[in-house]
Symmetry: D3
Subunit: 243 residues, 6 copies
C-alpha cells in the first residue's frame, strides 16, 4: 500500500487541510489568509487608480504581485530582504509567477486603468508557499473586484474564470500531490502547476535536479495536478460564496 | 465629561483592548501576536548561537530587533522596503528603539554568546505599532529564554524585570493614553514611553511638531504612561503565566 | 500546407540554423559562441578551485551560471544592469535555470571541490536566448572538464550525459519548434524545455498568459521539444568531436 | 563638592565653551560653524525654490535636514557612508530629529513654496553632535531667511521663536549638562532635549540602556536642560545680533 | 636592436594587428567589432530621440558612453558588475573618458535633440581596451549618424573630424606603442592618448605609479602616440569607405 | 599686457593664495586644511594596522584615498552621495587619482603592513579641488608617518620625495596656472598635473572637450605646471618645517 509512503501520512492524491479566511485584515480591498496545512500566506489585494507607464492611456488595467516571507516563517531565520537591500532571485521569480498566473484570469479592459497589487506574505512556511499564494491571491482579487463593482467603479466583473495552483512530485517513485516541506526536500523531482477552472494549464514549472523525469511520470503528475486544482477551485468557490 | 473627547470613545486613561497570543507561529523559539486594538504585530524571537563581531569572545550575548510593516498593513499601500532596496529612516529608528528597550531587561552575561533577534512585523496598523512591538517582543523574548533554559543551554534566566511601552499625547489639551491612528494624526504632541516593572524609564521619545509642550503637560503625560505600562506589564505576566 | 504559417518560413518542426563555435575567446577554460539563427550567445566556462560556503569540506564541486544581455543585443536599447545597480527578475530567473540545468548532468563528486561558472552573455537576441545559453553552456562545460582532465586535476569526467534546451509554442493553434522573436511575441503560449540525452525532462517551463493550453496541446508540444533536443544534442556531439 | 566629579572639570550645570561663527563658507545662504567644546559642526542652509511632491501647490514651504560625519571626525576612522552605499540608522535618526526640531520654529506659509535644507556636517566629534547641529542650524536658518527677506522674496520672517538643544545625563548619580564624549560613554542614562525660547519642549529623547531613570531624576534632568537651552538661545541671539 | 625588447616581438612603433568589422550585430544603428590584436571590443551606437534633462529644449544633442567587460574577458574571471550591484571606479572612469572623447568630434547642434549612446563591451581583453573602445566607437558613431542622415532625420553630418586613441609606455626605458597586457603589466609608466585627425590632443592620461617620467620621455611618448593615432585614423577611414 | 586677461586679476603664472594649516582637527594622525584661494579641503591621514586582502602577509603597506564634497561646498547644492546611495563617477575618479599620486612617493615596504587612508573633504569649492587635495594630503601623510616614527612603530620614513599637483589651462589662448572655478568654466582645455620634487611627472590628465590642444600649447602648459608644482612643494616644506 502506498499510503504509508508519505511522511505526512496522507494518501498520494490527498491535499493538506486547506483553509481560506477572508477579511483577515481590514484595510485592504481584499485580504485572505490561506493555509495549506502549516503553510500560511496572507494575500492582500490593493486597488490603485493608476497603471504603469507602458499602459497609460490604453484603457487597460494591470495585475501585479509581490511576494515576501517573514524572516522567521521558516525553520531557521532568513535575513530580511529589506535589510539586505534587495529581493533575492527566488522571491523575484515567485512574484513574477504569481502576477502572470493572476493576469491569466482577468479581462484587463473590464478593469479600466487601475492596478491591483497582490501582496503575498508568508507568515509560516511548510512547502508550497507559491501555490498557496496563487490560490489565496485569487480569492483576494475577487474580493477587490467585487468591491470595485459594488462602488460602481466598474461595470462587469473583470475576473473571468478561476485560477489555482498546486505542487506535485515523485516521492520514491510514487506521484504525490501537494508536498509539504519534508516531502519536498526528499523529492528528486517536483512541479508547480497553475490551472484554470476549464482544466487549462496556465503555467507549468517542473524541475528535476536529481532524477530526470520520464514522459510517463510527467503524464501522471499532470493528472494529479489537475485533480488537485479542481479541488482547490471548489474550495475557493465555497469561500467566495460566503457573505 | 472628557470621555466624549476621544474619537475612539475611550476615557483618557483607557488602553485599547490588548490581546497577547503566544505560539502564533510554530518555528520560532518565541512567537507572539499582540493586538493593541486594531494594531496587530507579530513578534518572533529567534535564537542564534553566534554574536556580532564586536562581542566575540567576551562571554556576552546580544539582543537585536528588526521591524517591518506589510505593504497593506495601512490604509493606503506602502511600497515594500525589500523592493525599494532599503529600509527607511522610520523603520531603522523603530528597530533601534526596540533593540535598546529589550536589551534593558536582559543580563547579557547570563545569555552567553548567543543572539536573540526579535522580528516585529506589523500585520495591521492603527497607531502605536512600536509600542505594541516592544510589549509583544518582551513576551516572545521570555518564551525564547525559557526554551533555552528548558534545553539546559543556560542556567539562570537572562531576563531581569519586564519592559512595556505605550504612547501618550495631548488630545485637544487633554492628556490621553494609547493613541490610535485617528487620535495620533490629530495630536500636536505625542510621546512614546518605555518603562520597566520597577517604574523606571527606559526610553522617552516625545515629539511636538505643532504645539511645544509645557513642563506641566509633560508631567501629566508621564504619569499616564506609567499607569499604562503598569497595566501592560500585568497583561504580559498573565499571558506568560499560561502554559 | 503548414509551412506558410511561420513568419520565419520554417516548417513547424524545423530548428533554426544552429552553429556552435568552440574556442571563441581564448582566456576561458571553455568558450563557445552558439547561434540559434540570429540569437547569438557567448558561453564561457571558468574553473575556480573553491566552492561556496555551504559546500566547503564536503568533497563536492559546484556548477553555477550567470546570464547577461548586452544593452543593444535587442531591437531597442535596454539599460545596462550594472549601471542600474541590480539584475532584473528575468535575468535572475534565467541564470538560476541555466545553473540547475547544467548541474543535472554533472557528478559533483567527480568534480572535486571546484566551481565551474558558466557565463552566458547574449551578443544578439532574436528569441530563445535561455535555450541557446543552456545548449551552448553544455559544450563550454565539456571543454572545461576536458581541460581539467588533461591537466590531471581530475580522474574521471564529471559530465554524465548531455543537456540541451529548446522552446516550443502554439502558433495560431499549430505547435511549432524553436521560436524566434517575432513568433514568440505572437504566441499565446510557449514553453522552454530542458532535456537530457536519455529523453528525460530536466526542466519544463510553460507559460500561457493568453490562451491556457489544453492537455492534448501540451502533449504535442512536449513531443516536439523532445525531437528538437535530440537534434541539438547531436549537434553538440558533432561540435565536441572536433579537435 | 560635585565639581570634581566631571572628567571635564566643569560644574554639573556648566556648558562647554560654545562658539558660533557665521559666514564660515561663502556659497550657502546661511553657513555656521558651531563648536560645543571640541565638537565642531558645519551647518549650512540652502534655499531651493521647490518643495517635495506632497506639498506642491499648497502654498507652504519645507524645512529638511541632512547630517553627516567626516570619516575621521572621531577617534577611530569610520567608513564613509557614501562609499558604504547607504546612510546608517543613527544618521537617519539624527537628521530626522534635526528636521523636526527646525520645522517647529518656522511658519511654513510665510516661507512660501521653498525648501530650506540644513546640512549639518560634523568636522570633529566630542559628544553632543546632534545638539550642536540643531543649535547651529537654527542660526544658519535665520541667516537664510534674512537673505530671502533682503532680496524681497518673502514678506515677513518665517522664523517664529528660537530653538536650541542640549544633552543631559546622570554622571555617577549626579545630573550634569552638555556631556562630552568621555562623559557620555560613562553615563548610564542620557537625554537630548530640544526646547524653544518660550521654555516649551520640542523634542525629548531619553535613553537608559543601563540604569532606568526614576521620575525624580528625570525631573532634575529636564530642569538642567531648560537652563542649558536658555543659555544657548542667548548665545544664538548674540551671534545673530552681529552684522 | 630594440625589436627584441618587446615581449610581443613588435618594433617599438608598431601597432598590433588592427581589425575593424562593421555591422557585427544587426539591431544597433552602428555596430563595430574592433580588435587591437587579442583585445576585442564590441562597440554599438544606439540612437534615442531624447536628451538628458539638462539639455531639454536647447536644440542640442548628447553623446554618452557605457563600458563593460564580460566576466571572463580576462585571464581570471572578474565578478559581474551587474551582480555586484555597481559599476567600479575603473569602469566609470573609462566610460566617462569615452564619452568626452567622442563628444569632441561632434557638432551637437547638428545632431538635434537626440542622444547617441556608445556601448563598448570588451569580449576579450589583452591591454588597451579603452583605446580600442574609443577607436571603434568612432566608427559606430559614424554609421549611426549616416543612418540618421539617410533617413532624412538630420541635414548635415554632426561628426566633424575623426578621433582615435592609443596607449604608449616606457618598456625598459624604451618608448613603445600600443601596449598589450604583458607589456602594460611590466611598464612603470603608461599613457593613453586621444587625438583627432588634425593632430590635436583631445585627452592625455599619463600615470606613473613606479618611475616618474621625465619631460624628454614624455615628449617621445607623445610623438609615438601621434604617429599611432594617425595610423588608426587611416584604418577607420578605410573601414568607413567600404559599403 | 596679459595680466588683465584673467578674471581673478592674477598674472598667467601666478598661483592663488595658498595656505596650509596643520593639526586642523585633533583625532587624525595627520590633519591639514589646505586652501588654494577659496578652495578649502580638509585632508586627514588615518593609520590602520591592517592591509587590504591582496597585500596580506607580503610585508608591504598601502596608501588609499577617499574624496568627498560637502553638499553646499559649491554654488548650488549637490545631493549628498551618502543619501543617493553611491559615489559618482567623478568622485571615484578623483579618489583613485589621489591614491595613485600619494603611493608614488611612498616606500611601501618601509611602512610595513599598515594602511594610511587619506580622506579629502572639500569644505568649500572654487576650482582645483583635486589638486588641492593631493597637495594637502601629502602634508597630512608626512604628519602621519612622523607620528608612526615617533612612536617607534617604523624605523625609516616611508615618504620618499614630495608630491604636489596643480591645474593649468588655456584661457583665451594664453596658458594660465591654477584655475579658479570661473576660469575653469571658461577654459576649453585644462590639465591636472601631479609632479614630484625631482621634476618628474606622476600623473598628467589633460582634457579638451572644446578646442583640441596642439603640441606647442601642451608644451607650454607642462612648463607652467612644473613651475607651479615647484612652488607648492616649497610651501609644503615650509609648512612641515614648523613644529
Amino acid at each position: 500500500m502506498t499510503v504509508s509512503l508519505r511522511p505526512s501520512g496522507r494518501t498520494p492524491a490527498q491535499l493538506r487541510d486547506i483553509r481560506i479566511e477572508r477579511g483577515y485584515t481590514r484595510h485592504a480591498e481584499g485580504s485572505v489568509l490561506i493555509s495549506f496545512g502549516d503553510t500560511r500566506v496572507l494575500c492582500t489585494a490593493s486597488v490603485d487608480n493608476k497603471v504603469p507607464g507602458f499602459l497609460r492611456g490604453k484603457g487597460e488595467g494591470w495585475i501585479t504581485a509581490e511576494y515576501g516571507m517573514l524572516p522567521r516563517a521558516t525553520n531557521t531565520r532568513n535575513d530580511r530582504e529589506a535589510s539586505r537591500g534587495k529581493q533575492g532571485g527566488r522571491t523575484l521569480e515567485i512574484q513574477r509567477l504569481i502576477g502572470r498566473a493572476l493576469r491569466a484570469c482577468v479581462d484587463r479592459r473590464a478593469l479600466g486603468e487601475r492596478t491591483i497589487t497582490l501582496d503575498c506574505d508568508v507568515l509560516q512556511a511548510d512547502g508550497g508557499t507559491r501555490c498557496a499564494a496563487i490560490t489565496g491571491a485569487y480569492v483576494a482579487l475577487c474580493d477587490a473586484t467585487a468591491w470595485l463593482k459594488k462602488r460602481g467603479d466598474i461595470g462587469r466583473d473583470p475576473v473571468v474564470g478561476a485560477v489555482a495552483a498546486v505542487s506535485v512530485g515523485l516521492w520514491q517513485g510514487v506521484p504525490v500531490l501537494d508536498l509539504d516541506y519534508r516531502e519536498d526536500s526528499a523529492c528528486d523531482t517536483d512541479m508547480n502547476v497553475v490551472m484554470n477552472d476549464g482544466g487549462g494549464f496556465i503555467e507549468i514549472q517542473g524541475t528535476a535536479e536529481g532524477h530526470a523525469f520520464r514522459r510517463d511520470e510527467l503524464d501522471r503528475l499532470l493528472e494529479l495536478a489537475g485533480q488537485g486544482c479542481n479541488e482547490l477551485i471548489a474550495l475557493q468557490r465555497a469561500a467566495l460564496a460566503q457573505p
